[in-house]
Amino acid sequence: MAEIEIQDLYKGFGPNPKRVFPMLKNGKSREEILNETGNTVAINGVSFTIKNKEICVVMGLSGSGKSTLIRCLNRLVEPTKGNILLDGKDIMAMSKDELLDMRRKTMSMVFQHFGLLPHRTVAANVEFGMEVGGMEKPERLKKAFDALKVVGLQGYENSYPHELSGGMKQRVGLARALANDPEILLMDEAFSALDPLIRAQMQDELLEIQAKMHKTIVFITHDLDEALNLGDRIVMLGPDGKIRQIGTPEEILTDPADEYVEAFVKNVDRTKVITASSFMHHYPSITVPREGCSAAVRAMEKNGVSSVLAVDSNRVLKGVVSIDDAVKLRKQKERDICTIIKEDVYTTQRDTSMYDLLGAAMETRYPIAVLDEQGRLVGAVGRATIIAEVNNIIDDEASPTVLSEVQNGDSDQSTEKERVTS
């Protein structure tokens, strides 16, 4: 178990940070407080829970207090006020030894600019946490080599950090964090210093590692795409150091809490984020071999569609039956429907993005069946649904205008008219 509960957390920087609380209570803004007292409010009354084994992304622009927030979790920064509970135990009340022990065993951190020791080899860097914790050399060396294998750096154990590329350096940082198998990873803009290609690659690898190791990960970023890609849940921090919204990537996109979040998510390519589970719908199906052609034809008539999906008694998908085949079979007075079940139907999972479904949807005559992990039918995505959804999210103002509309249009469309005629 590793669940972190953050309760009403504040952090102020400056000569006397405690002075800010009465002023915050009176509704003064951060700027007013800075001008009057010289204190900056970095974290402004933040409460949320990081659930066990989830990737919780804390997202905000610079100055939103996100880096300060993550540093409060292992007390690199002492909060001015508030509590942080790790599985119910207050981190703020820990003794020096308890704190060292937590840093050595429970929580490890990955830094934006890697934070590697330049005078140590890759392996010695990965060993660092275990070394200061007093682990014997052979044991920690073995753990370091294992961790380097996980991040794909075997063979570089004796290199020095300056001999590695940025992406490889951060793999060392990640290996160092994983080496002692802590329950919690704190990742402070871990991929922000990498170039976009390497960054996407590292994100995918982090997700792969997470699928195998199931850590509780707190990931700080200023990049919305990264947040949407990695986060099970996203905590949006506003420029005032307060939480604006907490939710899954889809909730943030489809239901932004206020204008700030809305402005943030406006330019995201939603087809890449909205997944099948949110726009799939019920699709008529028949259970084979119990139901025959008559049931199939009736189901299609009733729903006004030209095919049904066939499932067995456990709702495991068997294939698709088209109206033509069903009618033909009924005329021939054949009874065994299994002969006309076709298997050329596309299937997908609930978490596939709309973007990835577009190609298949344009190509196939049948709906795309959405299956769960056991291969059972949970819904379907039709071609019409996808086109409708894509239309929903397209920004109307930017979409092209039909020529006839342009020519008949009134004066406020004149700029577009000029563009067309010239």
Binding site: L76, R103, R104, G115, P118, H119, F128, G129, E131, V132
Partner: protein, 281 residues
């Protein structure tokens, strides 16, 4: 201006020194024993071992750290010193430099570490260092003679005071310049303050600290020559003889020996600094 007549800074300073000479005699005697012991140890080692053996060792050290050109230079340079009949004096000077540098580092590096950890210490130490560096070197010699009498020991003490500041300053600077993330990484993985210092900060700051060591050596070499005026011996003594007797040949020869020694010490300590620098990006 009448009021100002009461402010007799020079008189007060003289009174302080007199008081210390009388009441601190025990302390100064103890210092004399320690410094003199170390100094005579180095001197007898460097002078009793045959000169050619010493030159071979110096050359090997130059080869290992700074490469073959520096090795060639040390053979040629030290043979020239032998040829000029200044070997004994050069080794005396080198012993003075080594002794005062050892003491300067023993005092300077911990002081630099302390100053890097506490702003209040830095605020107090900095003006004292400024004072030590800018006060004309000859001024040190007077109290040094009063406390330790004439001879090599006051020479070492005056040299140590003169050459201490860069060791303190650059240790302080080097540790303060350790990137925040490296320090944070060490803390976040559960290092204690002592482990942070030894395993992260000092190694990362090492090139800067070695630059300070290099500066300390160079300053102490220049001061050791001046210390010849109070009977510290060595090349400084020869330079002084050259001046007082207006002997251009002796003055030039001993000056040349100092330059050779300076180049040798400078290049080798710089090469040491560079080899640790290579590990940094």
């Amino acid at each position: 201006m009448i009021v100002l007549q009461f402010i007799d800074i020079g008189g007060w300073f003289a009174a302080l020194i007199n008081w210390l000479t009388i009441h601190g005699a025990f302390f100064f005697d103890a210092v004399t024993v320690v410094v003199d012991g170390l100094l005579s140890g180095f001197q007898s080692l460097l002078i009793t071992v045959p000169a050619l053996v010493v030159i071979a060792v110096f050359t090997a050290a130059a080869w290992a750290t700074a490469g073959k050109w520096m090795a060639l230079f040390s053979i040629a340079g030290f043979l020239l010193i032998m040829q000029m009949n200044l070997w004994r004096q050069t080794m005396q000077t080198l012993s003075l430099v080594i002794t005062s540098v050892i003491f300067a580092l023993i005092i300077g590096i911990p002081l630099g570490i302390w100053a890097s950890k506490r702003d209040s210490v830095e605020r107090i130490v900095r003006p004292i260092l400024d004072f030590m560096q800018t006060l004309p070197a000859f001024v040190y010699l007077i109290p040094a003679v009063l406390f330790f009498r004439l001879g090599p020991v006051p020479g070492v003490i005056a040299t140590l005071i003169f050459s201490l500041p860069p060791a303190v300053r650059l240790t302080n600077l080097g540790i303060r310049q350790v990137p925040t993330e490296i320090r944070e990484a060490a803390v976040s993985y559960g290092a204690t303050p002592k482990q942070i210092l030894i395993k992260a900060e000092l190694p990362v700051a090492l090139p800067t600290i070695l630059a300070g060591v290099n500066q300390t050596i160079m300053l102490s070499l220049s001061m050791v020559v001046i210390a010849g005026m109070i009977g510290a011996g060595g090349l400084g003594n020869e330079v002084l003889r050259g001046i007082t007797q207006l002997r251009i040949d002796l003055g030039f020869e001993s000056g040349l020996a100092i330059v050779i020694l300076a180049i040798y010490l400078d290049r080798i300590t710089q090469a040491l600094g560079n080899s640790t620098q290579k590990q940094k990006k």
